[in-house]
């Protein structure tokens, strides 16, 4: 990631911690170590071992009718995230060619569930309107239409790395002169489909808590969320006097080609992504002050991620501070990477690293420098976010103080 310097000029996050109130609330509650996971309300989970999830409450009050009711919750959440990012970055008319790239795994699955319900169980008729509304590319297209973005409009799915890859693709759009500003992010909504899926593969927490890197971890929590980074070439940002949070210094994505569900046991693909990201940023392991880990709280992820960091960081692995925000907001799948990226951006801005909550019993196999027991105030010059997903998708992004 050289030649043009890409900077971050706007951020937004919508999770169960802030319930749409904005990125400041998200960040404050994250640093406080608040738990954003609650008893699941939107679906009946009677009989399931897992009873918790990260559902956003009261989303509608922030939308103010901005998105028609008929649209998917994914469209609503992402459009709200885009609006907040647009406001944060002060994107106005005639600012240049603005594009958008959205990562999501299941997209408008709520509409699709309704389509399936109607087709197979209710009146057994196919509903054309529902079918149209379930297309995943509606998500960025609706926002592009609403905010009159004329630049690239991309919808991408690389499982839980989706929003990282959205950032990398967006940086390429700017670097190669196809856009002046890109809004890159992701969205995932809570759904019975997703909950049932992760329940089926035995990945959900059984004790009501998400405990990344803890010996007593029992699994992840399905959550919803959306996040957006505003990417812009530095000169373009300076020319319009935009506030610059930090620089996108590097990034890379790789695949394991190993297993459809589990990460490579030695974290090979993820370590390669880390090393490539360091290389693209012109950075050394000792330059990284903070890693926002993928940290799902599942045995396979925690071990593979720890090994990947060790492999890539060498003797520096035990020095770098690591936290897993999924302990507080759960796993937001397609948007999880960008939410981790936002924690990096704010960590650099505020020199605070949020904690990993519920990590109470050390796991001898996960023996790195996890930030537990409260936030950590420290100088953060460079931060890295990691993501790993189904199919062995891995990614790493590096942000640097401007």
């Amino acid at each position: 990631m050289r030649d043009k310097t890409i900077v971050i000029t706007g951020i937004s996050a919508i999770t169960s911690l802030d319930n749409g109130a904005g990125v400041d609330t998200f960040w404050q509650r994250l640093c406080r170590g608040d738990n954003g996971l609650n008893a699941i309300r939107s679906i009946d989970v009677k009989g399931f071992e897992c009873q918790i999830g990260g559902e956003i409450v009261g989303l509608e009050k922030h939308l103010n009718g901005m998105v028609p009711d008929i649209c998917s919750r994914a469209v609503k959440m992402f459009t709200l995230a885009v609006r907040q990012a647009v406001e944060d970055a002060v994107i106005i008319e005639n600012i240049g060619k603005v594009g958008i790239c959205c990562g999501s795994v299941l997209g408008c699955i709520d509409i699709e569930e309704r389509y399936f319900e109607k087709t197979f169980f209710a009146d057994k008729k196919k509903d054309r309107e529902l079918l149209i509304g379930s297309s995943i590319q509606i998500i960025p297209s609706f926002a592009a239409e609403m905010f009159d973005f004329k630049g690239p409009n991309i919808s991408v799915n690389t499982a839980c790395s989706s929003s990282s890859d959205a950032v990398i693709l967006s940086a390429n759009e700017i670097r190669n002169g196809r856009a002046d500003i890109m809004l890159a992010g992701g969205v995932e909504i809570f759904s019975e489909f997703l909950f049932r899926g992760f329940s089926a593969i035995g990945a959900l927490t059984k004790d009501g808590k998400v405990r990344p890197f803890d010996k007593n971890r029992t699994g992840l929590a399905v959550s919803e969320g959306a996040g957006v980074l505003v990417l812009e070439e530095k000169e373009h940002a300076l020319a319009r006097n935009a506030e610059i949070y930090c620089t996108l210094a590097g990034g890379s994505s790789t695949v394991d080609a190993y297993n459809l569900v589990r990460p490579h046991v030695e974290g090979q693909g993820l370590s390669k992504a880390i090393m490539e990201a360091l290389n693209s940023a012109g950075a050394q392991p000792q330059d990284i002050d903070y890693i926002s880990a993928h940290g799902t709280g599942t045995y396979h992820n925690d071990l593979a991620e720890t090994k990947a960091i060790k492999r890539a960081f060498g003797k520096e692995a035990k020095s770098v501070k690591i936290s897993a925000i999924k302990s507080m907001i759960g796993h937001t799948m397609g948007s999880s990477a960008v939410l981790g990226a936002i924690s990096c951006v704010r960590a650099i801005k505020d020199n605070i690293i949020p904690p990993t909550i519920n990590c109470e019993t050390p796991d001898v196999e996960c023996d790195l420098n996890y930030v537990t027991g409260g936030f950590c105030e420290t100088k953060v010059n460079m931060a890295m976010v990691l993501a790993a997903g189904f199919g062995g998708q891995n990614s790493a992004l590096i942000f640097k103080e401007e």
Binding site: L106, P152, L169, E192, F193, S253
Partner: protein, 332 residues
């Protein structure tokens, strides 16, 4: 930043339909008025599938067809995946609804309500990204994997990203796969919007200088790429041949603002992909390029339908009903 004068070479291609492999075979059958089976039966490639098959579980139909398409494209481009190049080969996938069958099957199972009634084996396949992940595992390809879900323009977006990957030297070979599979769950919708036959198409992209220096056959070169939303970013002075794919995926526009191409009076020739193959959805981005490269190579497959399609460069425009559009220039 990419030097916009650089080109990428199309060094391999494949297209699988119910008729077998090859676009020319398909076009011949269309022109001859043959009744073409809409759905691909992967059994016709059973020998190759058996050779590819790993592990005890039989591949799903979608996996088989995409695997055969990838295999044929790699063979055509003379690309062999080895331990030394596995990390330098990438697959970019254009997909819209290929996994809908998995989704509805999974839904139907869990809809019966009991917590135990879920399918751990189907669930991973409900994410469109898993098709290309499965291909990576099958072929041992460890470069970049990205699935684009941009409807009709999916594969075109993949080609644009592929060009960036090649010129950033992140990868040496990019295989772009576009798919158009039949799905029982919305069969009537597919037919309403012009679906005729299933197809899965792939092109292999390499940096031109490297493809040529290794003596590869280069079908065509991709010179310019653009994409955007809700605005006409196409060259208005184009005098050569056009290939267009006008999205009509669901027979109406979702966005209010119409995006329409300029009148065709000044254009030498315009070939509409839809009128040739029917609506090819996410495969269209690849099919348009394959068709263009056939024209550039002097193929006469569509001679009786269009005049003046002989050209040294072709502009392929792909657009969907959401307002997204891409344009690609390919040259001899």
């Amino acid at each position: 930043m990419i030097n916009m004068n650089q080109t990428i070479a199309i060094s391999g291609k494949s297209c699988v339909t119910s008729l077998g492999e090859g676009v020319e075979v398909w076009i011949d059958a269309i022109l001859n008025g043959e009744a073409i089976e809409p759905v691909i039966n992967p059994d016709m490639f059973q020998t190759e599938i058996n050779a590819l098959q790993k592990g005890p579980y039989e591949m799903y139909r979608v996996q088989k067809i995409t695997a055969i398409t990838l295999l044929k494209a790699l063979e055509d481009a003379r690309v062999k995946i080895t331990e030394s190049n596995a990390e330098r080969v990438s697959i970019l996938f254009g997909s819209s609804y290929e996994i809908e069958g998995f989704k509805s099957d999974f839904f139907k199972t869990y809809r019966k309500s009991e917590p135990g009634l879920t399918s751990p084996s189907i669930f991973p396949y409900t994410s469109s990204s898993v098709i290309v992940s499965a291909l990576s595992i099958l072929f041992g390809i460890r470069g970049t994997n990205i699935t684009f879900s941009n409807g009709i323009t999916s594969a075109s977006e993949a080609i644009i990203a592929g060009r960036d990957l090649l010129f950033s030297r992140k990868t040496d070979v990019v295989i772009v796969i576009g798919t158009n599979f039949f799905c029982d769950d919305f069969d009537s919708e597919l037919h309403n919007c012009g679906f005729r036959q299933e197809c899965c198409a792939a092109i292999v992209l390499e940096r031109t200088e490297e493809a040529e220096s290794t003596g590869k056959h280069v079908y065509a070169k991709i010179e310019q790429l653009h994409h955007g939303f809700g605005a006409n970013n196409r060259r208005g002075d184009w005098k050569g041949c056009f290939i267009t794919n006008r999205g009509n995926s669901f027979g109406r526009s979702f966005v209010k603002k119409e995006v329409r191409v300029k009148p065709w009076e000044s254009v030498n020739s315009c070939v509409d992909l839809n009128s040739v193959f029917g609506n090819t959805f996410s495969a269209s981005g690849v099919l348009g390029i394959i068709l263009g490269s056939l024209f550039l190579a002097g193929s006469t497959v569509l001679e009786e339908c269009y005049n003046n399609i002989e050209s040294s460069e072709i502009l392929f425009i792909n657009e969907d009903n959401y307002g997204n559009h891409t344009s690609v220039v390919i040259k001899k």
